[in-house]
């Protein structure tokens, strides 16, 4: 059973978070181990496993980036946020240089702020792209599109996700610096 099935959902990326929470609470009320403390060992074990799956599914699906990562993993796509995507090679080189300056304590507050804005704008651009690609994916699913069409869209999602994860890592590095 995949996480979408656990929540009774088709494999779409546009989710209503309030409805998701409601289902989460309903499933919790059904399977939580608290309600099986007088049951047999087998039922108890089963309740813990089921609830863990419900919790794992909710944790993954409610967060947009994890949701995309998980969808890709179902189809065997891996998205790696640690490698620099080809499309970002030049820009990242430049940003990294500036980041080094910040880490070495040589950057002024204005320079740090401008770098922060620059990275944030980039991340927001990818967030929007990712969301749009998600909308396209949902349309394909709704239409019942052929496998090759789905594959192309998944590849596109994987690429944008790699780019946006990389930028998000940079953003984290800057906050930590």
């Amino acid at each position: 059973m995949d996480y979408f099935e656990v929540f009774g959902l088709p494999r779409v990326l546009g989710l209503d978070l309030q409805a998701l929470e409601k289902t989460f609470h309903e499933l919790s009320r059904k399977y939580h181990p608290d309600y099986f403390s007088t049951a047999s060992a087998a039922e108890k074990t089963q309740a813990v496993r089921m609830t863990a799956m419900v919790n794992d599914a909710y944790r993954t699906l409610r967060q947009p980036v994890h949701r995309v990562e998980y969808l890709l993993s179902i189809y065997g796509f891996k998205s790696d946020g640690s490698k620099v995507p080809q499309s970002l090679l030049m820009e990242v080189f430049e940003i990294n240089e500036q980041l080094e300056e910040v880490k070495a304590g040589r950057a002024t507050i204005e320079e740090i702020d401008s770098l922060r804005v620059q990275i944030k704008e980039k991340r927001e651009k990818f967030d929007i792209e990712l969301q749009q690609a998600g909308v396209e994916w949902d349309e394909l699913i709704e239409k019942g599109a052929a496998d090759d069409k789905l594959k192309t869209q998944l590849a596109k999602l994987a690429e944008i996700l790699a780019e946006s994860s990389y930028i998000r890592n940079l953003e984290r590095d800057l906050e930590a610096a």
Binding site: G8, K30, T38, E43, T45, V48, A52, N55
Partner: protein, 602 residues
């Protein structure tokens, strides 16, 4: 259904409570006091005193009067080295992975010592309720790690209690406050006790208490305030104060601390030194301010993790004796911008909440449900001493994660897994939890074996691990070596050694417990067989269930608890598939019902 009690096993005081007629109440001891000081006194003849009588011995018999043992739970000597100079106990040399206190030549681990306090609470409950109590819910600080939780569970077992659930103290407190009358909202629970500090942020909706985040410090409490004051006295009194006088100083400063919650000035008077000085509340405040400041950082972290700003918190609840200090209340009020709740006795509220949770488990209250989180990220050691996180902190529990492992050398039949808890990048900065050895892997070319390892954190916040080789489908045997803590065999040995039970009693108890379990499993099996899903089992599976059930019925007649346990195990295994089918069909039914309802509702 036997009664289930709720127990707050505190650093300074412990309490036991129960829900009767829908209302939780604390059960007092024979002296009428609801608080049992977590103090244990041993005399040379082997007599043990617990609670208030033990507390009276603290000054004159400090070497053999144990207190604040909770601070040692799940810890090795390296974790508490800085505390030891101010503590009168003798520590055994074999304390690297689990602290052992030496008292009259015998070593005691923290779970054994805590078990004395638990047994006292159990006796108090039995005297008032008029029946044997074997089931309990015990609370722990939310920020307790795996080893500390396991140590608490071990303490329960040694005391003859079946610990049905470990509950986090701040969450328990929120249950007691009756905040469920409020339909929606966010709650912050600030729990500052004798030895530990916790902050939990909860979201309440229609009876579901969902913890969003938790943070804290398991080594920060009223004890630290006492120690600051002890150091002040030692500095003032100079060389005249020998370490032997520390217990007397501790008692005196503790009183001054308590007095200053209601008066503006108090006196530290130690005629035995002699030493005398007055302390104003504002002097006291400036001394303890750094300690209070240390509680605010976790508060900000928890808010950030919950994605909330201080002004988005609807209710703030104060728990723990240290929240009686006016400066603590003031600081918390400043942070959240609202007056915190202090209506309930901060010493009792956790025990009351534990009783409410016990009542939920007993099937009393079905409308309330607690969804708690794991306070620390769980990870495994990867190449280069880096910790790779597999379950992030603040994940709702139970939670699980699956990782694939393989072999590096041709024919390798063993794989080592090192499990850790913590937030830092490097293994050396995290808490080592356990080493797992995957054994008997079928010999293959390097990298060919695919071992799927499942990490499961249960509703108590305690980890278990299972593994399966994917190519052969074979379950791997796992040998667990807890880094800090007792093995199952050691706990069993301690149960046997505990003063309470002669060997015959234990045998009899084990047989009764096994028979009860057998009864439960048989009933569940009968229920399962009458389910529609039973038809979907293979004939072999049906035959095995019937044979296993018959075997349980026959074995139950014997007095051999091990044989009964083995028969139960066989029956449980034979019904595993059926239980899974029933659960799955219930899930799809639930989802179908929901869709139908949604359509009906338009």
């Amino acid at each position: 259904m036997p009664k289930i009690v709720g127990i707050d096993l505190g650093t300074t005081n412990s309490l036991v409570a129960i829900v009767e007629d829908g209302t939780p109440r604390v059960i007092p001891g024979p002296d009428g006091s609801t608080l049992v000081p977590s103090v244990i006194y041993f005399d040379e003849a082997g007599q043990v005193l617990i609670g208030n009588p033990a507390k009276e011995k603290m000054v004159e018999n400090s070497k053999n009067t144990v207190f604040s043992i909770k601070r040692f739970m799940g810890k090795g000597i390296g974790d508490v080295r800085e505390d030891l100079p101010l503590l009168p106990f003798e520590v055994s040399p074999e304390s690297e992975h689990i602290i052992r206190l030496k008292i009259f030549g015998r070593d005691y681990t923290p779970p054994e010592l805590s078990a004395f306090v638990l047994r006292e609470l159990k006796r108090n409950a039995e005297a008032v309720l008029g029946e044997t109590i074997t089931n309990a819910v015990i609370t722990v600080p939310a920020y307790f790690n795996d080893a500390q939780r396991q140590a608490t569970k071990d303490a329960g077992r040694i005391a003859g209690l079946d610990v049905l659930r470990i509950v986090n103290e701040p969450t328990a407190a929120s249950l007691a406050y009756g905040l469920d009358k409020r339909k929606q909202g966010t709650i912050a629970v600030y729990d500052f006790g004798g030895g530990t500090f916790d902050i939990s942020i909860l979201k309440l909706s229609e009876g579901i208490f969902e913890v969003l985040s938790t943070s804290g410090d398991t080594h920060l409490g009223g004890d630290d305030i006492d120690e600051t004051l002890i150091r002040l006295v030692l500095k003032d009194a100079g060389a005249g104060a020998a370490s032997a006088s520390i217990p007397a100083i501790r008692k005196a400063v503790n009183k001054v601390k308590e007095d200053l919650s209601t008066t503006e000035i108090a006196e530290i008077d130690l005629p035995s030194l002699p030493y005398k000085r007055s302390l104003t509340r504002s002097e006291f405040n400036s001394l303890i301010d750094p300690i209070i400041e240390r509680t605010l950082k976790p508060c900000r972290q928890a808010l950030q993790d919950a994605g909330l700003k201080p002004n988005e918190i609807d209710e703030v609840v104060m728990v723990g004796g240290s929240t009686r200090i006016p400066l603590v209340r003031q600081r918390v009020q400043e942070l959240f911008g609202r007056v915190p709740h202090t209506e309930l006795n901060p010493d009792e509220v956790v025990a009351l909440g534990a009783a409410v949770q016990a009542d939920i488990l007993a099937g009393g209250k079905r409308d309330m449900l607690l969804l708690d989180v794991t306070p620390l990220s769980l990870g495994i050691e990867t190449m280069g001493g880096v910790m790779s996180k597999i379950i992030p902190r603040n994940s709702t529990i139970p939670a699980s994660a699956t990782e694939m492992f393989t072999t590096f050398i041709d024919g390798q039949t063993n794989v080592k897994i090192h499990v850790l808890q913590g937030e830092r990048e490097l293994v050396k900065d995290c808490r080592s939890l356990a080493q797992f050895d995957l054994k008997d892997i079928p010999a293959m070319v390097a990298g060919m074996a695919r071992i799927e390892v499942k990490f499961l954190i249960d509703a108590d916040g305690i980890l278990s691990v299972s593994a399966q080789e994917q190519r052969t489908g074979k379950y791997q045997s796992i040998e667990v070596k807890p880094t800090y803590g007792l093995t199952d065999e050691q706990v069993e040995q301690m149960i046997l050694e505990s003063f309470e039970y002669a060997e015959a009693d234990i045998e009899a108890r084990l047989v009764i417990e096994a028979r009860n379990e057998a009864e439960t499993v048989l009933n569940a099996t009968m229920k399962g067989i009458s389910d529609d899903e039973y038809a979907n089992l293979s004939e072999d599976e049906k035959a095995e269930i019937a044979a296993a059930a018959k075997n349980v019925r026959e074995t139950m007649k014997s007095n051999n608890h091990q044989a009964i346990r083995e028969a139960i195990e066989r029956l449980s295994n034979s019904t595993m598939h059926l239980a899974e089918l029933i659960m799955n069909s219930a899930i799809s039914r639930a989802l179908k019902d929901k869709r139908v309802r949604e359509i009906e509702n338009g």
